[in-house]
Structure formats: C-alpha cells, structure tokens
C-alpha cells in the first residue's frame, strides 16, 4: 500500500500526488514510468514519473483526469492509499551534456518533461522550454520548468497567456530564425508530438517523443502498447516510451488509442452517475 502524502491541484483536472516509494526512487531515471493500480478492481494505469527524490524516497506523479480510473484517482485525498505501484518501467533516456536542447511540452506532458529538462540543466546544457496549454489555468509546472530552463516560451490555444496558438508554432519560428538545437524533446498529446516531429524534420533536427500508448502489464508481456517505428513493431513499455519522433507512425498510434473509447465512455458515465460527479471544483 502506498499512502498519498501530498496532493495538489495543479490545474482543473490536473493533479499531483506524492507517495513514499524508496525502491522506485533509488532506481528511477528520466523518461521512466510507473504503473499503479488503485484497488482490487482497478486498471493498471501507466504514469510517467514527474519527479523522484532518492534522499527522501518521495515519488511525484502528475495526471490528468480523462477517464474513469484517472477521475477516481483524482478523488483520493492525502492519507488515502494506492494498492499497487510498480516501477521504474521503460527504458531511461541516456542524457548527456549537449550544447542546447528544446523541450516542447503540451498539457499534462509538462510534468514528465520536467525530470528530463532538469537532468539536462544540471549537466550544463542550455535548455529552451516551449510550454503549451489550452488556456492559462491549464499551465502546470511553470515555476519548476522556469528554474531548469534558460529560456521559456508559452502558448495557449485561447491566447490567455503567451503566444496564441500551438506550441509547435513557436518551435517552427525558432528554427526558422536559425536556432539549431542538438535535440528537440516533445512530450504531450499525440497530435502535438506529431506536429513537432513534422516541424523539426524539415530542419533536420533530431527529435525524441515520449509515447503514452495503452498498456496492460507494462513489462513487455502483452503488446498492447505496440507502435510502428521505422517500419518495425516496438513495445513502447519496454523499448520506449521514448522514440525517434521522425520514425514513429503517429497515425497508426492515434487510431490505436481509440481502441476502447466506447468502453471508457461507459465506465466514466457509470462512475460519475454513481458518485455524483467530482466535487473538488465546487469548493
């Protein structure tokens, strides 16, 4: 059992929880994830590690409430417990000192971006962060990202903060202006990562994306998370979640993410009818 020691509302429907998981924290490296299961009837939910502290053993996870399971997870309070957490899973990113990296993060994807940006920053790499959200209220990890970045640019869909439009438009502008980072890292919704990869491909800039494919075991056993990379089938739970963004078949992956849409809708509706909806925004 993992007791929730801290819970924060980062934005509407985006929440942060912290649990004590020393073994995971000792071994976690940027880019890795955990799988948690709330209770006996729960799904196995993969969540990228947003932060892990070796000294305190505190594991930080950030999630957005999308379906039944994440909505239910969001209902837990400090002091409540999560039944199972396993990790760290996936292949860690090999992070070495570079001259310059650009971190393109969208929505809840800013949280998993943070450990990578931090790792580059600590090595002395120049970190330029481009952070996008639907609206100002949905921007998360602003302070944290600013602390580990040399420059930060913001965009919102509605123009309520920073550039009005897509974060990939800022990326395009920077590259057009002559910026040539050693690497672009893109983490966020699949269409955003696809757009980022398309932009950088034109400029021949290496681009790493972090895929959030549907998983069950997360240890390479089921192949639910398979994705085509450079014409080859890869399991993103084991060989990923990071892949060369220019080689990922995003269209196939976007279609695969809809595999259980009808079931997910049913489960959420049934859950919300049962609990009367989330009450935390009414406070």
């Amino acid at each position: 059992m993992y007791r929730i020691l801290k819970k924060e509302m980062l934005a509407p429907k985006i929440k942060l929880i912290q649990v004590y998981a020393p073994e995971i924290c000792t071994h976690a490296r940027p880019g890795q994830f955990v799988i948690l299961r709330m209770h006996e009837k729960g799904e196995r939910i993969p969540l990228t590690i947003a932060d892990s502290d070796r000294d305190t053993g505190l594991l930080t996870l950030v999630f957005q409430e999308v379906g039944k399971s994440t909505t239910e997870l969001g209902m837990l309070s400090e002091g409540d417990s999560i039944l199972d957490i396993v990790g760290p899973l996936g292949t860690a990113r090999d992070i070495e000192k570079l001259d310059c990296v650009v971190c393109v993060a969208g929505g809840v994807g800013v949280a998993p971006m943070y450990p990578e940006a931090k790792a580059y920053h600590l090595l002395g790499t120049r970190v330029i962060s481009l952070i996008g959200a639907q609206t100002k209220d949905m921007l998360i990890f602003k302070d944290r990202m600013e602390k580990v970045s040399d420059e930060v640019y913001y965009s919102t869909d509605d123009g309520s903060f920073g550039h009005k439009g897509f974060v990939t438009e800022i990326l395009c502008k920077l590259l057009e202006d002559g910026l040539r980072p050693d690497e672009v890292i893109a983490i966020g919704p699949l269409p955003m990562m696809r757009a980022a990869a398309r932009v950088t491909e034109r400029f021949g800039v290496k681009t790493v994306v972090s895929l959030n494919a549907i998983m069950v075991d997360g240890t390479g056993m089921c192949g639910s998370c398979r994705v085509t990379v450079d014409g080859e089938v890869k399991f993103s739970c084991v060989e990923g979640p990071a892949f060369d963004g220019h080689k990922v078949d995003f269209d196939e992956l976007i279609a695969r993410q809809n595999r259980f849409l009808a079931e997910e809708k049913l489960a959420l509706e049934r859950y919300l009818a049962g609990v009367g909806g989330c009450k935390c925004h009414q406070k």
Binding site: D217, T219, R259
Partner: protein
C-alpha cells in the same frame, strides 16, 4: 487383473457445452468420491511403476491411488504433496496424456488410469474436507536465504522446495498478483483462480515471503539482491514475450496478442467489466491464429465474451495441433470452428483502422521439418478472405528478456533463453540459477515445476558446499 483392464475409464462430469460456453465457471466438475474410488480400483499396482518416472516431479502415483481405493482421501492428498506442492493445479492443467498416463501399463491394452483426474480429486477433497495447510512445514530459514524471481509454476515450486529444505525464501513478482501464467494466461474456466490462491497460501504457510510489484532488474537489481545477503537467486521469469504474425495489418484495432487478450480477461477480470475497470473488446466474428492450448483458451474465452462465431486458424492439420486433445475437444463441443491447413497473409482494415477481414492462404503438408512435423507449404492462388472483425494471435512466446538483459555476462541462447547446467540448474554466473520457460522457451506447467524443483536441489547443494556443510 484382466477384469480390471476391462473396467472402463471413469469419465469426469463436465458442464454441458451450451451452458458452459456462456459462463466462466470451471468446465470440468471433478470426480465424486464414488467415481474416484472406481477409477482408483482400475490401477493394477504394477511393480514397475512407469507412471512415476513419467512424472516430472516424481509423484508416488501408485501409492496415492491405493490410498484413494482404500477411502483415505486426505492421506492420498498428503502423499501427493510430498512431491508436488501444487496438486490442484497440476491435476487440471498437466498434459498427463503425454506424461504419467502415456506410460501407464493399463494403457498398453486399453485406457490408462485417469491419474490427473485422481490427483485433482485428492487436492479438491482436501480443500473441502481437510486442512490443506496442516501438513505445511514452516521453514526456520536456517539453511540460507534465496531470492526466487517470478511466481509462476517454476518459481512457486522452487520456493516451496527450498522452504522444505530449510531456506528463507523471498519470492519476487512483477505483477500485482502471484501465479504468472497460471494467473494471467490460463482462464478461470480451466483453472479457477481461487485454486491458484489456495496453493499460493500453502507456499506462504511454508514460510515463503512474497513481494508483489517488484520488477527485479528495475525495482531492485540482481547485484543488490546479493548485497542484501541472498545466497542464491533463481530466475523463473517465463516466456512472456509474444510473437506477432509479421503480416500487414497486425497493428489494426481489433488485433490482440493472446497474451493481451487473456491478461485483460484473466488477470484484470475484464469479463466482469464494468464492475472491474479494465475493458476488453471482442467483436462478433473472431479468428484465433494458432493451434496450441493458448489458442484454445483464447477462442473459448472470446466465445464466452459473446462472440457469435469463433474460428481457429491453424496452418497444419488437426493431428499436428500442439493443444491437448481434451482442450481441442472441449472447444469443438462448444462450437468453435476450425480452419485447418490455412495461414493468415494479411489483415484487412476498414476506413477507421479496425479489422474487417483476414486474408488467408490454404496450406498443404510437405516434408518433415526439424520438429519432426510435416512442414506446411502455401498452395499458390488459394487465398481467401475470412469475414472477421477480431483477430487474436496465439502463435507462441519467447523468453522474457526484461530481467536477463540486466545481468551482465549472463549466457543466453539464440532466442534469449538462459543457458543452464542441466544437472544443477546454475547459469554461468555463480549463485544465479534458472528454470522453466526462461530456459526452455514456452513449454508446460509441469515441466517448469520439474525445473523449479531440480534447481532448488541444485541451489541447496551450491549453498551447502559454500558453507562447508556435508553434501
């Protein structure tokens, strides 16, 4: 003696096909006391006991059968457990027809004794009428400490055997529940999970500590386990890496590996969605590719989830199917259709990325291949389209690479299998042992149990020698 040979083998009662194909309860219902005694009386107690040598864990088969014949069912159960800690599971899923029953003396002139059914009867009887935990000896841990990685049949058996030898055993499992393939692979209707739970309880009562949600190699490394003071480590991580078909369309929506499909249904209990949170989607017409037990399990599971038509597509003929005959017959009785001598070529997509058909080619059997089976060869121009909306690929698995690749210098075979010394079960790294599917590739529950047991004795010798104790 001759009158015994003429006694027919007692059939085990089963749920009727039209009833069972709509539920997930166990298909085979088990012997009654009367049936068990009648079947036990068929055993002629021949002096050579070929059945014992046919059993990978060497159960004293004639002895336990004699106890059943005398009505001492609890005594029979204890007799089995001297050699086999998981009798309720073995009685259900062992391929007795190729092991103990294959060499039964009665089988030479008629039908062999139903050893598997009798084993199951004893274990079930003890569970219902006795105290299965009463004879478990709790290990005092004085012999040493061993880490067992993987709680499938190999790991459970190895742990149990080491506990009997006085070791403190910690059993590590990466999933949230024990049992490995017994839990995620074999369906409830063939192996009720309550039975897995009870047999795991038995092993716990021997003093084995179970740690779930630990992926050895990631959550804790093998080196760290040695540093923590474990004297030896057993790798029983199985053959969990699914093959795919390697044909166009295999990533379409509606294509599952059997591992994904069965894990959703068995481990995650998706058959009880939405009461349980994990979904599984199955269409109206399902093709299952493959001819082994996993293919039969997948097909019968799809049927129980409401598919209207389920077709098994297998590239050889019925005679070559690796599944147990009993499971093929169960599937046939339930209305599973078989498209034999056919192989998928590509999976067809609708305009939204979902399966709308599977193109197959007919096959014929050519020359024998290295497995001794006749090689299937495509018949040119015989392509045809199977009208399906779901495809389940059950064409086998490879050893799981996740842990073994984190151990520097570990000798691996061509397919990622761990190489061991046949006699001791030890790998090329001192103190690291392995057994089960991670060594052999995908095989049977009982073979993995046999390997787990053999490795336990190898580990005991290794630690005893190191500690200067008598060999």
């Amino acid at each position: 003696m001759s009158s015994k040979v003429r006694q027919p083998r007692q059939e085990m009662p089963k749920q009727q096909p039209d009833v069972r194909s709509k539920n997930f309860q166990e298909v085979a219902l088990g012997y009654t006391e009367e049936l068990a005694v009648a079947e036990a009386n068929r055993c002629i107690q021949c002096p050579k006991k070929p059945c014992v040598s046919g059993c990978p864990v060497g159960v004293d088969i004639p002895e336990f059968i004699d106890l059943i014949a005398k009505g001492d069912f609890l005594g029979a159960a204890r007799k089995i457990k001297e050699k086999n800690s998981l009798p309720a599971m073995c009685g259900r899923v062992c391929p007795q027809e190729t092991q103990c029953e294959a060499v039964c003396t009665l089988g030479k002139r008629g039908e062999p004794v139903a050893i598997g059914a009798l084993e199951r009867f004893c274990a079930d009887y003890e569970r219902m009428h006795g105290d299965p935990l009463s004879d478990a000896q709790r290990s005092d841990g004085s012999s040493g400490r061993v880490a067992v990685v993987g709680s499938g049949p190999a790991g459970l058996t190895c742990a149990s055997e080491l506990a009997k030898l006085g070791y403190k055993v910690v059993l590590f499992e990466s999933l949230h529940d024990t049992g490995g393939v017994l839990r995620y692979g074999i369906p409830e209707f063939r192996l009720p999970k309550a039975i897995v739970d009870e047999e795991v309880e038995y092993i716990k009562s021997q003093g084995v500590e179970i740690r779930l949600n630990v992926l050895v190699g990631a959550t804790v490394t093998v080196d760290e386990l040695f540093q923590e003071g474990f004297d030896a480590i057993f790798l029983g991580t199985g053959a969990g890496l699914p093959y795919f078909l390697g044909i166009p369309g295999e990533n379409l929506n509606g294509v599952y590996s059997a591992n994904e499909f069965l894990t959703r249904v068995n481990l995650m209990k998706a058959y009880r969605f939405p009461d349980y949170d994990t979904p599984v989607w199955v269409g109206k017409r399902v093709a299952v590719v493959g001819g082994g037990n996993v293919a039969m399990d997948s097909a019968r599971t799809a049927l129980r989830l409401g598919a209207e038509k389920v077709t098994v597509v297998y590239r050889r003929s019925r005679a070559e199917m690796p599944a147990r005959l009993e499971e093929i017959e169960n599937a046939e009785e339930e209305g599973i259709e078989f498209y034999l001598l056919a192989n998928p070529v590509r999976i067809l997509s609708d305009d939204k990325g979902w399966v709308k058909g599977m193109e197959c080619v007919r096959m014929e059997l050519g020359e024998e291949d290295s497995s001794g089976r006749r090689r299937p060869v495509p018949v040119p121009g015989s392509e045809f389209i199977l009208d399906v909306d779901t495809v389940i690929s059950a064409v086998g698995t490879d050893p799981n690479p996740l842990l073994v690749r984190t151990i520097p210098g570990l000798d691996l075979g061509r397919r990622g299998n761990v190489i061991i010394d046949e006699e001791t079960g030890m790998t090329n790294i001192p103190g690291v042992f392995a057994g089960g599917d991670i060594v052999t590739g995908s095989a049977t529950v009982i073979a993995a149990m046999g390997a787990g047991k053999a490795a336990a004795h190898g580990i005991d010798k290794y630690i005893s020698a190191r500690n200067g104790r008598g060999m």
